[in-house]
Amino acid sequence: MKKTAAILVAMILCLSLLLPVSALAETDVQKALADAADLSWDDLLAKAKAEIGDNELMIYSNTSRVKEDTFTEKTGIKIATQNPNDSQIYEMLEQEVGNNVYGADVVLLQDCFMLTNFAIASGWLENYVPADYKSVILESDQNPLVCVYLNRLFFYNDGGDKQAKRFTNVWQFTEPEFKGTEFKNPMDEKSSMNFLISLTSEQWQAKLADAYRSYYGKDWAAGEFANISYEWIYKFLMNCTFVSKDSTIAADVAGGAAGSAGLFVFSKLRSVDASNITVCANDGIEGFAGLMYPIYGMIAANAKYPYAACLYLNYLLSEEGYNNIFGKEMGTYSANGTIGISENAKTYGDQPLSFWQDCLVFEDAEHVQNVYFEVFDQIQQWCASK
């Protein structure tokens, strides 16, 4: 009896000793990251293995694709994943890193605004750019590090007529004649929200004005709306139908009447009969053809295995890693500029990242940062009063 009590006391003491140790880990992670900054794959692998041993590398990710075990096959390092949605990841970071309790090593997440203003500003996440790919990743994608880009595109049902060219101008989506374009509610989908906010930048105001001129044959004039983007956003929100899942939108467009349209992630095309579906981008639509948003790869400030975490990010940006995890799908593009799109994706009419650069609204971190709350509130009101 006394013995067990003694053991218990000892255990509690050990535990209380361990806690302050992990409190110091923050600087350890930064030290490790600084050290890893110049390490190539092989050096990193050696350090990572020594560090993690038989333990699991914990990954929080808003996409469950990272569940693949090819990384383990290649490196012998075991991984565990948890796939909450974006806001849940932020919640977990707040609770865990915020209270200095170990949770994750690697964090894959989206939403530039939250990442910068919430997680990074609070010091919960560290940035790391794999040395091997520093030269092939755009400067603008390096801090915070973008791993992949995903897009959501306007699609429509062409009724079998590949020359239908139904949507040639983005203003069509605001017209009652084309009512019912299916769209994920921006209040529930951060990429939808950031897309609409990005659209209010001067660059896109100008593009919208050009499209307006060519569609209506006159110049846009301020009136009811403060700027042309607001007008497009308002009319589009009133004209569209909110549908909760990409797969539902894809199925609705694929099975719907000729002319029905929707905005959804490219990869969902493969779960439906895509024979009657045309990508608006390929019809050369004026204005824009959809949106593009990044998935960032970060390292938790209190990671237990920083080297292994670096190694994982290195893997994600390698051609092999990208192909294993995202490669076969259309609509995903590595931030590593040397990796192209797969043959499979091409058969669905996918194009390389450079093609989309001009015709998709990219998440514009700088602009979003400036106008976020203002535009957000406006969109929230519009969505709710639909």
Binding site: L15, M58, T63, S64, R65, K67, E68, A80, T81, Q82, N83, P84, N85, D86, S87, Q88, Y90, E91, M92, E94, Q95, N99, V101, G103, N117, F118, A121, S122, G180, E182, M187, D188, T241, F242, V243, S244, S247, T248, A251, D252, V253, G255, G256, A257, A261, K268, R270, S271, V272, D273, K328, E329, Y372, F373, E374, D377, Q380, Q381, A384, K386
Partner: protein, 584 residues
């Protein structure tokens, strides 16, 4: 004596287990997080920083018609209609099965609970598949149109109508179980006495039967109304496309946006207040002088109402209805798990079930077919293990709470326990999970353990069991137990040998309902466990990868497992969820 100990014990336990979540909710509604502070500072030029006290969350939300008052009104309407539908549907079926000579009782009785076993969105999906037509939305042609050419108007497909109806059907088994239980235990003489006094069927129903099943009716309304208020999947699926927005969808939006999270907590408090109000009405009703002891030990001679010629018609109508809401969804799951392209039955294949090799193709790393997929089986086992433990804890807790509350009926403490036990039900799963994530960062030994999941699940599902436990204990007259006290039976013996066997069926539902809910819960656990631990976390993986065949197959598997558990329980104990009602 035991009732005194129990009620104090549960009062203390429930205060500890529910006060912290409650405190968290209230605190979060009154303070700002980092992002909220940033938002208020930007928009209102305040000088708030994280964790500052403010009433802005309340001001913001309660002054906003489109994000609060309109959705609230919609939620209230939807929940009221859903409760009504659940009660009419479940009550009618319960009445038909307990009081008439309708055919195939056993079959109807066991199939009627299917809609609850299946996740609510599956019914919404079926609804859409049946009624979608070329004049609604993108013009996908549904079954009704392709078979008959009939195009129903848009409001039938999207909006409040399908939301209320689907939720009503989904929760009708609650009504069936609770009302049916009372009806079955109710002395038939009470109705016969009115018959003799020349009251017609309608009048008897209105003046005698319904008032007597009123406690069960209230319990049903309480559960269905609160569940519907909190339901998210169905309103988003068939409500939003019809521009029908409810509180729960708004709450989720606000919650998922860090900068408006506080408002989500204000909404949670509103949901809780409505629940408390309903609970108050319920308590006021059962605490009244009228005694609803309906089980006297003597079962009156029940004479079934003869339906006569209507029997065949009513049975047929019920059979068709049950096929549509209970069997058809299962068949469609099965079919969808066996086709290459959704909806195209020319592409039938069994590979998503039987492939011993990686399925490959676009289903990148989906792994082997469902039956040979280690990942799926281990997650399934995880879910079953968790659900079993949770249901054992919750079921037993529910019976004990029911016992204590029934014996101490009318006392303040009984009201407190009964109310607290219901409270977790009113906190949205998401928020509940988040609260316990926070708990686990303080009590780190809980992190990532099964114990944490068990605790969260047990608290969250206690309301089910405590409702059914209280309900059935209320019906048992104290004399039955006293008879055993007289012969010197110990308290455990009385519980096990007397009280439990008499109300076995409704207690068993107290075990089975949490099991079912736990099996298909995702949002409650997602923050607390790694993916692949539970089958639902894996389900979202296949969902995201758009391997719909696998996710449909897994859904089917969950339904089958729950049915199997129900069936096994039935065989072993002679009781099942539905059997509490009749059909034998």
């Amino acid at each position: 004596m035991q009732a005194n100990v129990l009620i104090v014990l549960f009062a203390v336990l429930l205060v500890i287990l529910t006060v912290y979540p409650m405190y968290s909710v209230i605190r979060s509604s009154l303070t700002v997080g980092r992002m909220e502070a940033m938002r208020y500072n930007t928009l209102y030029h305040t000088k708030l920083s994280a964790d500052d006290f403010t009433l802005l969350n309340y001001r913001e939300l309660l002054t906003n018609v489109s994000t609060f008052w309109k959705p609230l009104w919609n939620s209230l309407r939807m929940s009221a209609y859903a409760s009504l539908i659940a009660i009419v549907l479940g009550g009618t079926v319960a009445f038909l099965i307990t009081r008439t000579d309708i055919r195939a009782k056993k079959f109807f009785s066991s199939v009627f609970i299917f809609p609850y076993i299946m996740p609510s969105w599956t019914l919404a999906l079926v609804w859409k598949n049946v009624f979608a037509n070329s004049r609604v939305g993108t013009g996908v042609v549904g079954m009704l149109e392709s078979l008959t050419g009939i195009c129903v108007p848009s409001w039938v497909v999207y909006g409040i109508f399908p939301c209320a109806l689907v939720m009503g059907i989904h929760y009708a088994p609650f009504a069936y179980i609770l009302i049916g239980g009372t009806l079955r235990n109710m002395d038939a003489n009470l109705e016969e006495a009115a018959t003799i006094l020349q009251a017609g069927r309608g009048r008897i129903l209105r003046r005698i039967t319904i008032p007597i099943v009123m406690p069960a009716l209230f319990s049903t309304v309480l559960l269905v109304f609160s569940s519907t208020m909190a339901s998210y999947a169905v309103p988003v699926f068939v409500g939003s496309p019809g521009n029908f927005f409810v509180l729960s969808t708004q709450l989720t939006s606000l919650y998922n946006t860090m900068a408006t999270k506080g408002q989500a907590f204000v909404m949670t408090i509103v949901l809780i207040l409505f629940g408390v109000m309903l609970l108050g009405i319920n308590l006021w009703f059962t605490g009244k002088r009228k005694s609803f002891t309906t089980v006297t030990g003597k079962s009156g001679q029940v004479s079934y109402i003869r339906l006569g010629r209507a029997n065949t018609v009513i049975s047929a109508v019920l059979a068709v209805l049950l096929f549509l809401i209970a069997i058809f969804p299962i068949i469609s799951f099965a079919l969808e798990s066996m086709v290459e392209v959704q909806g195209n039955y020319a592409t039938l294949t069994l590979k998503y079930w039987l492939s011993r090799e990686d399925i490959g193709g676009f289903a990148v790393n989906a792994g082997k077919g469902i039956l040979f997929n280690g990942m799926i089986w281990s997650a399934l086992w995880g879910s079953i293990k968790l659900s079993l433990i949770v249901s054992l804890i919750v079921g037993t807790g529910g019976i004990l709470i029911g016992y204590a509350v029934a014996r101490k009926r009318g006392t303040r403490l009984a009201g407190l326990v009964s109310g607290l036990a219901f409270f977790p039900y009113l906190v949205p799963s998401m928020a509940f999970g988040a609260i316990f994530l926070a708990v686990s960062t303080r009590l780190t030994f809980l992190r990532g353990t099964l114990l944490l999941l068990v605790i969260v699940g047990s608290i969250k599902y206690l309301p089910f069991a405590s409702r059914s436990g209280t309900n059935s204990m209320m019906q048992l007259s104290g004399e039955i137990e006293e008879a055993a006290v007289i012969v010197g039976a110990s308290w455990p013996k009385r519980m096990l040998r007397i009280l439990f066997p008499i109300q076995k069926s409704s207690f068993i539902s107290g075990y089975l309902l949490p099991f079912i809910s736990c099996m298909r819960e995702l949002s409650l656990f997602i923050l607390l466990t790694t993916s692949g631990t539970l089958i639902t976390t894996l389900l979202s993986y296949f969902d995201e990868k758009a391997v719909t065949q696998m996710s449909n197959g897994i859904n089917l598997l969950i339904v089958i497992i729950v049915l199997l558990v129900n069936f096994t329980t039935n065989k072993l104990t002679g009781a099942s969820i539905d059997k509490g009602v009749g059909g034998n």
